[in-house]
Amino acid sequence: VTPAARLGLRLLGAIGGGYALAAQLAALSGGLLHAAGLPASEATTLALLSAYLFYAGLLLWAFWTPSLGRLWSVVLLGTVAAALGLRGLA
């Protein structure tokens, strides 16, 4: 794999994959907060606000982690796991 391809994969995994995982984590946290008793609108607002923090943390980690394989597996498996968790919650 060429360095340019590695860079492209890292940017895509960090920006696109990080966004997908952050959005799924935020949706899951919204569902969990609602299940824990917070009104749905307030749980959603809190989840929306924390989505930026999830995304920021994921981006920093994604640009730091040396292994592209780990980056992509965390992003993909994490997104699927969070989506499954949300489905189980519903």
Partner: protein, 352 residues
């Protein structure tokens, strides 16, 4: 495919560099327009000379009485609702806006609070129209693309702030280091460090709150978390969070009426829910609503004294209010009839 191990700081250095190179110009536009918009009203007065009325009008002509209300009714005839901003010191005009029947575009114009005359259109969008759109959407409305670009720049700013903490890791030492007589590169790096450290909390707060304004653009899938059962989760969230959120009704207050000096032939009563629509702009404003249901159901709002309250002029007949025993009619069966037309009454608050 092995990568040499690297520290977090080493990884943050290219991120800090390239996020800065790519987004610096855009971030400058956003932050600069945001700074200018602190003075949005003043810029509007500067750009729209016809609206430069004496600021005292905000005190002497604070209400909707007289020619302003007549002018507003005449101008907005046929519209289902209209909004008005009463004069303030920073905007001493009556700002009237409405959507004409059969139209999509909101019309907005300024009235002279003394006469109700329409002030000449200055032909400029001014700060509040031009700079605000530039600030949060770059005037790119297609699919809200501009808001997404600004959001990407905001996320880049968050990354720049955090990565800068690690790249310029000797924060305390660097803070006291400023070598203006050194080479330009060294001196500007020192300046970068000093201003970066000094303004870090402000930058972080400004960036995060700026992003938070656009939460409903950037995360369209998150609504499904807490609204998994709803067919349209986003719509359900908006209905609950912004429009029709209901709390258990409070018991009515013991004195339902704000003791305004009653004019002959009118009584006033406070009602809740004043200005729930169109009030979500930057400061508390009053909505003036004309009601067709009652011939005298004119609702007026007052923002002073705080908290803002809403008053409905309900009862027109002078004889509907009695001083002894003190009671006032709260609803009438006719607009002009005597007290016989009164269908419900309440005690008039005694002066204490």
């Amino acid at each position: 495919m092995s990568t040499p191990p690297r520290s977090f700081r080493q990884a943050m250095s290219p991120l800090h560099t390239w996020a800065g190179v790519v987004f610096a110009a855009l971030l400058f536009v956003v932050f600069w327009t945001g700074t200018l918009l602190v003075f949005d009203r003043e810029l509007d007065r500067w750009l729209q000379p016809s609206t430069r009325l004496p600021p005292e009008l905000s005190r002497t002509h604070a209400g909707l009485d007289g020619p302003v209300l007549d002018a507003a009714r005449r101008l907005t005839a046929g519209a289902s609702s209209w909004f008005v901003r009463l004069p303030t010191e920073r905007q001493p005009t009556v700002e009237l806006s409405w959507v004409p029947r059969g139209s999509e575009d909101r019309i907005r114009l300024h009235l002279d609070p003394r006469t109700g005359a329409v002030l000449p259109d200055t032909g400029t969008a001014g700060a509040t129209d031009f700079l605000f759109s530039l600030h949060y959407s770059l005037h790119i409305d297609w699919q809200r693309l501009g808001a997404w670009i600004v959001g990407a720049a905001g996320m880049a700013m968050v990354l720049l702030l955090v990565s800068g903490l690690f790249v310029h890791r000797r924060l305390i030492a660097d803070f006291f280091l400023f070598r203006p007589r050194a080479r330009l590169q060294r001196a500007s790096l020192d300046l970068h460090n000093v201003t970066g450290v000094l303004l870090l909390p402000f930058h972080l707060m400004i960036t995060l709150t700026g992003l938070a304004i656009l939460i409903n653009t950037h995360w369209p899938t998150v609504y499904g978390g807490a609204y998994a059962q709803a067919t349209d989760a986003r719509k359900a969230f908006f209905a609950e969070a912004y429009a029709t959120y209901k709390r258990p009704a409070r018991p009515p207050p013991s004195i339902p009426c704000w003791p305004l000096p009653a004019r002959p032939g009118t009584t006033t009563s406070a009602s809740s829910g004043c200005g729930t629509r169109g009030m979500r702009t930057r400061s508390w404003r009053c909505a003036a609503v004309t009601s067709a249901a009652s011939p005298c159901g004119r609702t007026r709002c007052f923002s002073t004294p705080a908290p803002a309250r809403c008053f409905t002029t309900t009862c027109p007949a002078p004889s509907c209010r009695r001083s002894a025993p003190s009671w006032a009619c709260t609803s009438c069966s006719s607009a002009t009839g005597p007290c016989a037309g009164c269908t419900s009454r309440r005690a008039w608050p005694a002066a204490s």
